[in-house]
């Protein structure tokens, strides 16, 4: 259904840092409930795109609409209030706090309060439930361990749990799989599939193409801040421009 208003519409988005154009005249739309994969070589503007949508950097030009509302240039906390949450490529836990206490901070946000009907309830109990959902073993010590002492795989899950705690409509996962072993990736993929099943809209920035192409509805390819291809995973894989820019060395 093409007449449906998209959940997210990005038009003519441009961002420059000094003389470098990180994102250049980018246009795309995302329908509700879909999973969009964003790929591209290092420095192609993927993370800048995440930062633009979530308000961490302000665009030079262009427009970002969420549910038809113009959210261009909004500060991060307001963007989250609308229902967009993100993870960071470099995990950003509160290292001094136990894992489950890390989730207290997002659970404290006005958005969660609003959705819970003005009552927070016991945040610690909610936090433990959320951790279980992303694969922290229930009743195991790991949820109570200081975040600074957790292995990378758990930190990535914690990062995911932190964004899920906000009950977002759109989740942006910035290289969630980077730095993880194959086994760890394999255990997180079902969690993302489950989120998709629950009707969440997801944008995944990813380098692990095999896993991404398996779960993505559409894939967008960036290079030097420009969109060089977009479409079904298989179409994108076969596009010559993509092969040249991104898969070039592998295809040889």
């Amino acid at each position: 259904m093409t007449d449906q208003t998209p959940l997210l519409r990005v038009s003519n988005l441009t961002k420059t840092f000094g003389g470098v154009t990180a994102v250049s005249n980018l246009n795309f739309q995302l329908q509700e409930g879909k999973l969009l994969g964003v790929i591209g070589p290092n420095g192609s503007g993927k993370t800048t795109l995440v930062n633009l949508i979530t308000g961490f950097v302000k665009p030079v030009a262009g427009r970002i609409e969420f549910r038809g509302k113009n959210i261009t240039g909004w500060p991060p906390y307001k963007v989250v209030g609308e229902g967009i949450s993100r993870t960071f490529q470099m995990v950003r836990p509160f290292y001094q706090l136990p894992a489950y206490k890390n989730l207290i901070v997002p659970l404290y946000s006005p958005r969660v309060k609003k959705l819970a009907g003005g009552r927070y309830g016991d945040r610690s109990a909610v936090a433990l439930d959320l951790l279980e959902e992303v694969g922290f073993e229930r009743d195991a010590y790991v949820s109570y361990k200081k975040a600074g002492a957790l292995p990378q795989g758990y930190l990535k899950r914690l990062e995911l749990a932190k964004s899920m705690a906000l009950r977002p409509d759109l989740v942006i996962l910035d290289e969630l799989f980077s730095g993880l072993s194959l086994a760890e990736v394999a255990s997180i993929v079902p969690i993302i599939e489950k989120l998709k099943h629950q009707g969440k809209t997801i944008i995944m920035i990813e380098h692990r193409l095999k896993e991404l192409f398996r779960i993505a509805d559409r894939v967008m390819v960036l290079n030097y801040g420009r969109k060089i291809a977009e479409g079904e995973a298989i179409e994108v894989m076969d596009s010559p421009a993509v092969k040249e820019a991104y898969l070039g060395s592998e295809a040889d």
Partner: protein, 333 residues
Amino acid sequence: MKKRKERIDRGIKARSADIFALTSYREMLYLLIPGAIPVVGLLCFAPMLSDYWREVIISTAIYALLAMSWDMLMCAGLLSLGQALFFGIGSYIAGSLNYYAGLPPILTIPIATIGGGLICTVLLLPVLRLRGIYFAMVTLVVPLMLSRLVEATRILGGTEGLTGLTPFPNQLTALFIIQLAVLATLFGFRRIKGSDYGLVITGISDNDRSVMSAGLNIYWYKTQVVFLGSSVGCFAGAFGTHMDMFAGMPGFALDYSIMPVAAAVVGGVGTFAGPLIGAFILVPLSEMLRALGALRIVFYGLFLVIFVVGVPEGIFPYIQRKYQQIERWVDVT
């Protein structure tokens, strides 16, 4: 054979973290005694001292308030080198209300606490985006600027200051007022830090972008923290003004900025009890060394170095660890 230190929580600690503590006197005492020490020490022990030492305790308590106020800002990652700003503003508000409008201390102190907190918060609002050393530089400079402003424009008594302000009825009254303020600040701030709100605050210093992406406006939270911290600092200033019966440029002196930082570092940053302990060690120590004349600052500095090198984590965290854990040396195989 190599050895390493093993630390184990005392059984009593593990048990008393739960409601079962209520079933045993020993465990109730274990929980209550640490909180009772400052209450009993300040309210019962201090009034028994001589007039001179009571005076010392009062000025110690003023520094303790400034140190806890510094610690509150530090919790949100705001490194302040300008506690003198809070002291001076509180001092001038209370002083001028008393001098020009004739209000008694019972009114000037609360007004200076709240009003001063608001003024300081507004003054620091534009620099809340700064962190670490940048924020520190600004806070260091602002009180110096204000004191020169008073000197140059000759407002509020200029270099003479405002003299002959209403004193407290007697020393004991003053002692109890400041001690109640210290205890309220100590337990209040510790409670705030232990709450979910406190987690958000410490989260800002740990990782501000993560708090932003959690849908919280970190500048609003920093503003609240600055208000809390500066109100306590302004209270100290207003109280000190009525104690000295004088409000003037010395209120912006560097002493009020440096001593709280030293007290917090010696006592243990981020614990509120630490800065309190630190102040109660450093200020009386400085009094005791007065007999040494010019060498005073040398010995004082030496003690500071000994504390910082010997107990780098701070005195309070050290005592707390000893209280809560058993330590023993075990062989490393």
